[in-house]
Symmetry: C2
Subunit: 482 residues, 2 copies
């Protein structure tokens, strides 16, 4: 058992150093590795498969709401950024530039895309002539680059993977409806699929996307009380339409600018997943996103091995056929105890054990990664039992994350109250805000917390600004954020 | 009907100018558009969906053979290219360079990846220690960039999408087996899914991948007789292992270099698909890859419209439920004739017509895009009839493409014979070759044709070199190529 011990103690406890715990877990579970390029990581197969599962489910939701995928160029001419003033100011500090190609200096520098509003805008101006061409509902799965000074694997890397939706509409009303629809899709996806509760709301002006009229976000709480913005949806008004001359003849034969939206979610979701559900034993993956949902481990003396493994293989085939993502670890040179720890560390939601006595009784043992609950179930009902246990686990993980979030979200009246809460305990703060950038800035300077969003459903509507005491215009969620 | 006429005559006939036909078709069918970045295209939804279908099927084949996906950085440090001499010579002339980021000049230039052997090599050297870590079987779906002087949408663009597999093995034997397995997977995929017959074979040394020991390819014939390399698989020996120090302790506890392979297929496949199957009416898509397999068009007088559309919707639901990719075009302001032409131009394999008389008789009319064959089938058997017709269409398209390929592949004895064949008719030539680079070069200079590959199954084994008359070492397929 010394091997087990060593295994477990390689992960720094969360309480000791949350960031080190995070890095220990993602490296040990082989989700990623650092690359030789500053701020860029390698998504190893175990990590990339999480992304594939996220993609599959999100993509289905996009398509069900009428969107189609496309692919636009990686490079964006420098002049494109100049066309929308706020956009260039927001992104210029982070851009990498291609200045030479095939041995020659380029006439115009090309940015490696940080986001593609400008390129979509340029093409939409060619494609859209009439109201009959609207709406245009296109999404793109792509890599993007933002040269970050401080990076954190998955949560903030210079290159990352994401999807960016870009839509164009006849009217403001329709574009705003789309903006909210996509925010809802993100919220539903993150809650249902990743078992992460989120707070939906509108960003304050200082936190808006560069070039947006309004930005909305979903915000999730990590186990260290910090926030991750897990998805954003922007109503861009006619700003990009004006910048890129995207006009259409409306139903009255008048030339109008389109109203556009954009919305995105990225590989940050992987980081959130780990920080919301993981514990000192390692990863804990909700069944819906887990690459392996059930790990099957044969148990017992060597003389029974062939028989047990034979039965495990039969049950494996049944589960597989039912669509369960299942794997068998029947290595003879590794102890069951070592395997138990390994798959707990890797976050596999359910372990299935089968030994000689279970065979006699027509049973198997199922053990939950999250609760440790052990169920002895009949082999005859295996598929139904496993599916039910997985569904309960998914729900249990959501409930626990929500409980944690609620336990660590405090409604406060004053900046002092906020400070003492954040000193005692990390978490989110809900407070009144007068709407002035100065008060928002002061909160950030004194606490390190930024406004996350103005929640659509605050736990209560606050009366006065936590900083200046003036009447509150909004109730805002503040938190330190990744 | 004037609208129909105009529609059709916008496509240049293949016989008049094949390249113009190609551009006309892909623009008209909205598969792509030119972008403002030199040599880069936009994959519009109709074109990107072809890629999504290709991805889904290829990805399944990769996973069934034990490969997993991952994602490696877009940027590759300049020093990495220097490590493998042939590799740098091959790719240096095509590389775009990032020299500045976030307002600062980089210490080392970063290439935008043209392919990722070097980055995989670097990481594999960290991950592989022992024979127990082998084989490593990783694939990556990604964008790559090669700064091309002459471009052709889908077939040769500066940025393109592809997958690149990179594997590492204990022995040469195992790595060579992998190389051939992946070539076979490409061949099966292209023949079964895209209905394109291919010639499998080995590349001559002058056409090898930069850094490979051996390169294998599948070659397809376009309707203008030119070749497209539709997939390649490389045995890299220990070249990249030596360059990147990828060593492992073998079963005898001796330090050894791994043997690596790489293999790739790209969005070129979309170009091939169009050039192999398209005709003067537009695209023609094999059912397996077609985004829409069946287009349903209600027909008949206005007073019957609601009834007919109602029945069309019921049949639509049946087909959809059975997994057929089906769409309804029930627009009232567009004539059926215009729709017929539109979906023929877009290459939809089957058209389903339903009018009042069909309703009375419990029938529908199915029309094949390829053969024009019309079948009147019972609504009660609709799913089975459609599935059978689609399967036959898939086979028919493959058979026709194979017939065309065979009709335009000529076995020749001499360079003169080759020249007169290529003057009379475009196509592939099979000829004996002594193995000297000089003779291969002379063929290229005098005919514009390059050696495509040394086919595993030539139609006959040639005795003498077509240029010098010396005994033939190989039988080679030559062709002009995209």
């Amino acid at each position: 058992m010394s091997k087990d011990k060593q295994f477990v103690t390689e992960i720094t406890p969360q309480s000791e150093d949350f960031s080190r715990w995070y890095i220990d877990v993602i490296k040990k579970a082989e989700l990623m590795d650092y690359s030789p390029v500053r701020g860029c990581i390698v998504f190893r197969p175990e990590g990339y498969e999480l992304w594939e599962n996220i993609q599959r489910d999100l993509d289905r939701r996009f398509k069900e709401t009428g969107h189609r995928n496309a692919y636009f160029p990686l490079f964006i001419p420098e002049s494109f950024f100049q066309k929308e003033k706020e956009h260039v100011e927001g992104f210029n500090p982070e851009l990498p530039w291609v200045t030479e190609a095939a041995g020659e200096k380029l006439e115009e520098r090309l940015a490696v895309r940080p986001t593609s509003e400008t390129m979509f805008g340029h093409m939409y101006s060619k494609w859209i002539q009439s109201y009959r061409d609207l709406p245009v509902l296109i999404n793109q799965w792509a890599n993007v680059v933002r040269w970050e000074k401080r990076t954190m694997p998955f949560l903030r890397t210079s290159e990352f993977l994401w999807q960016e939706g870009h839509t164009a509409h006849e009217t403001e009303e329709e574009a705003r409806k789309e903006t909210m629809q996509m925010l809802d899709i993100y919220a539903q996806f993150v809650e249902e699929f990743l078992a992460i509760p989120v707070i939906k709301g509108e960003k304050t002006p200082s936190e808006r996307f560069a070039g947006a009229v309004d930005t909305y976000s979903i915000e999730a709480m990590m186990k260290d009380g910090k926030a991750v913005q897990a998805g954003t949806s922007h109503y861009l008004g006619t700003k990009f339409a004006v910048a890129f001359d995207i006009k259409f003849l409306d139903r009255e034969n008048t030339l109008q600018y389109v109203h556009t939206t954009s919305w995105g979610a990225s590989t940050r979701l992987i980081g959130s997943l780990i920080m919301v559900h993981g514990d000192d034993r390692g990863l804990a993956l909700p069944p819906k996103v887990a690459p392996t949902q059930v790990i099957m481990i044969p148990i017992g003396p060597a003389k029974m091995r062939d028989q047990v493994v034979g039965r495990v293989d039969e049950l494996y085939a049944e589960l597989k056929k039912a669509g369960v993502r299942v794997r068998v670890d029947d290595r003879a040179d590794v102890s069951p105890g070592w395997k138990f720890n390994e798959y707990e560390m890797r976050g596999v939601p359910l372990r299935l054990e089968l030994g000689p006595r279970d065979m006699e009784n027509g049973q198997v043992v199922l053990v939950s990664r999250i609760t440790g609950e052990k169920r002895i179930v009949q082999q005859a009902n295996l598929v139904a039992e496993v599916e039910a246990f997985l569904a309960e686990t998914q729900q249990e993980m959501y409930d626990r994350a929500k409980q944690f979030r609620n336990d660590n979200l405090r409604s406060v009246e004053t900046l002092d109250e906020m400070k003492s809460f954040l000193e005692a305990k990390r978490g989110f703060v809900e407070a009144g805000w007068c709407g002035s950038a100065a008060c928002e800035k002061q909160v950030k300077e004194e606490t390190g917390a930024t406004s996350r969003n103005i929640p659509f459903e605050p736990s209560e509507h606050k009366k006065s600004c936590l900083v200046c005491g003036d009447p509150a215009k909004h109730t805002v969620v503040f938190a330190r954020a990744y």
